[in-house]
Amino acid sequence: MEKTYIICVEDQREVLNTVLKDLEIFEGPFFLEGCESADEAEELLDELDAQGDYVGLMVCDHVMPGKSGVQLLIDVNKDGRFRHTKKLLLTGLATHQDTIEAINQAAIDRYIEKPWNVEILQKQARILLTRFLFDQGLNYEPFLPVLDKETVLERLRRMG
């Protein structure tokens, strides 16, 4: 059975751990992975794709040594393999120009500023993961307990 992953990219170990802890509620139906750099994330993306697994959501910091978070998301956005992957930028240090790029070129789905509110992060992740499942055409039922109910109802209503 293919797994659906949530990938968090953040260069500071402690911050990464906090993000992962905040998103722990999704673990079980979804799988959680942390990366400390864009390179590591790209390697993981390749690996998961090669296994036939899905990446439902990427939660990305912007300012990191090496490739920036926005650049990573731009590359993911161009990559047909991750067409339905949802992208959340989690940063306190993006400039105006970075933000414009993130919207126009990376087509990010959400922008959350650091320091973040746990509930807002969880709620937005919930919505994005729900959208991913329906966009990807996966069976929502096993994931139901951790999905955004409003989004599920709206998508199901649309099917008539």
Binding site: E141, L147, R158, M159
Partner: protein, 478 residues
């Protein structure tokens, strides 16, 4: 621990594949079914495979349906694998099924009837007819929780006669979501509201032939002199829905009375007034009217169901992208059931199995009671369509068993009774997708659902029996 889950992962597919293989390859005399032919033995193995796959779900239920169709084509069709078409001596086997007939199940009239229903529902949702209509229809019910619940349940039931039970539940639960927090803490009335929607959707499916897939499967077996038209179905379906709905409303308001004095539902939508929206409204009304007046214009419900398909495609109301969103899984799930029924009937296995049951001394009502109870129990634990797929071909074969069927108005009465009972299975979150949605909201416990659901199932069975008695007494089946 890890090893155990690994074993568990293989257990379901293992059992589901091994037992049918065993049946297919064991010497025929071990089966203790006198006179069974090689083709019948294969059909028996397929039937057991279908049952295990639909109950244990090692693969999605619609995939099982397609698997059945493909296995039938290979194993028991006249264009199947060469060695499967001859016996040990090389002579051609009798009773092989025409491959065109097996493939034809994908486009069987009842499948196209459902396709027409899907087109109506999809375009209604696309043009927000569902929400606008719900807003208008709910207004007269006011803000008192008890009456408002009746209104919500009535509208849910009516909508689910034409939309899928799942989509109807999704829409009404979404309408309900903003008002649930308005209940005072500890007010059990909230449970009544959250349960009322899925229950009404499950029940509403009974109302029309396109309300829920088991109805379609029943229509497949109600042929020849037993044919039931769209309007005829509604003539008993709608009153039955009304009675059940009132009963459920009384039950829920008694079990979970609301203390909150008033609730207000807010709708944002208004009726769209674009030319396309008007085409949708008009097509909806005309199609339903044509369904109800088949005796006058001569087109049966299957032919009528193709009209909205043509209209919506011609006017670009349903486009290429919408086509992809049609629930092909539901259509194929039903097609597999029809193919299974076809194999059971054409091979002669259904008739042979039925002769094995000692019916002497049993009345038709007893048989109906047993079959309906089996259907109700199965439907509580597995998909309603899967239950109908397995049960109805066997039930339909009872017509040839020599059982005295006067009391139920012939075999049609038993087929209908079982079909209606299947829609009464709603005591668990896994019973139906509407139940699962309501449970996922977190406002109710499984025990809340079970308590009301078991009462509805058992009382509902009684009401269905009464209906069949009334129908047969008034000569409906003649």
């Amino acid at each position: 621990m890890k090893k155990k889950t690994h074993l568990g992962a293989w257990l379901k597919p293992g059992i589901s594949v091994l037992i049918p293989l065993l049946i297919a390859f064991m010497p025929a005399e071990w089966l203790h079914i006198p006179g069974i032919t090689p083709v019948e033995q294969r059909v028996l193995a397929l039937f057991v495979l279908a049952a295990l796959f639909w109950i244990l779900e090692p693969i999605p239920i619609f995939a099982t349906s397609v698997l059945i169709i493909v296995l039938e084509l290979i194993l028991i069709s006249n264009a199947g694998l060469q060695p499967m078409r001859q016996d040990a001596t090389g002579a051609a086997l009798p009773n092989l099924i025409d491959y065109r007939e097996i493939m034809g199940t994908f486009a069987s009239p009842v499948i196209l009837l459902f396709l027409g229903g899907f087109f109506l529902a999809m375009s209604a949702v696309k043009f927000r007819l569902d929400q606008s209509l719900a807003a208008v229809l709910l207004r007269p019910f006011g803000q008192k929780p008890k009456r408002l619940l009746l209104g919500i349940m009535a509208i849910t039931a009516v909508f689910s006669m034409f939309m899928s039970n799942t989509a109807t539940t999704a829409m009404m639960l979404a309408v309900l979501a903003p008002v649930l927090p308005l209940f005072e803490p500890g007010d059990r009335g909230r449970v009544a509201f959250v349960l009322g929607v899925p229950f009404a959707a499950n029940i509403g499916g009974i109302g029309t032939p396109i309300g829920t897939p088991p109805n379609a499967i029943a229509l497949k077996y109600l042929t020849g002199e037993n044919t039931i038209g769209f309007g005829q179905w509604m003539s008993f379906g709608v009153p039955l829905v009304l009675v059940l709905l009132l009963g459920i409303w009384l039950l829920l308001t008694t079990l979970y009375p609301a203390r909150t004095p008033a609730l207000e539902l807010k709708f944002k939508t208004r009726f769209l007034r674009t030319p396309k929206a008007y085409i949708v409204y008009a097509t909806f009304v005309v199609t339903v009217l044509l369904w109800l007046t088949d005796f006058w214009h001569g087109m049966n419900s299957y032919v009528v169901s193709m009209i909205p398909v043509a209209v919506f495609l011609s006017f670009g109301i349903i486009g290429k992208e919408d086509l992809k969103n049609i629930s092909w899984d539901v259509l194929w799930l039903v097609a597999g059931g029809i193919a299974l029924g076809l194999a059971l009937e054409k091979s002669g296995l259904a008739t042979r199995l039925v002769t094995l049951i000692p019916f002497s001394g049993l009345s038709a009502m007893t048989v109906l009671a047993v079959a309906a109870l089996v259907g109700l129990v199965m439907a509580n634990f597995m998909s309603n369509t899967g239950t109908a797929n397995l049960l109805l071909p066997i039930v339909a074969a009872l017509g040839t068993s020599g059982l005295a069927l006067e009391s139920t108005g012939g075999i049609a009465g038993i087929i209908l009774g079982v079909t209606l009972s299947i829609s009464l299975g709603m005591s668990l979150p896994i019973s139906t997708p509407p139940n699962a949605l309501a449970h996922a909201g977190g406002d109710i416990q499984t025990s809340d659902m079970a308590r009301a659901g078991v009462i509805i199932g058992l009382a509902g069975l009684g009401i269905v029996f009464a209906l069949i008695m009334i129908l047969s007494g008034t000569g409906f089946f003649n």
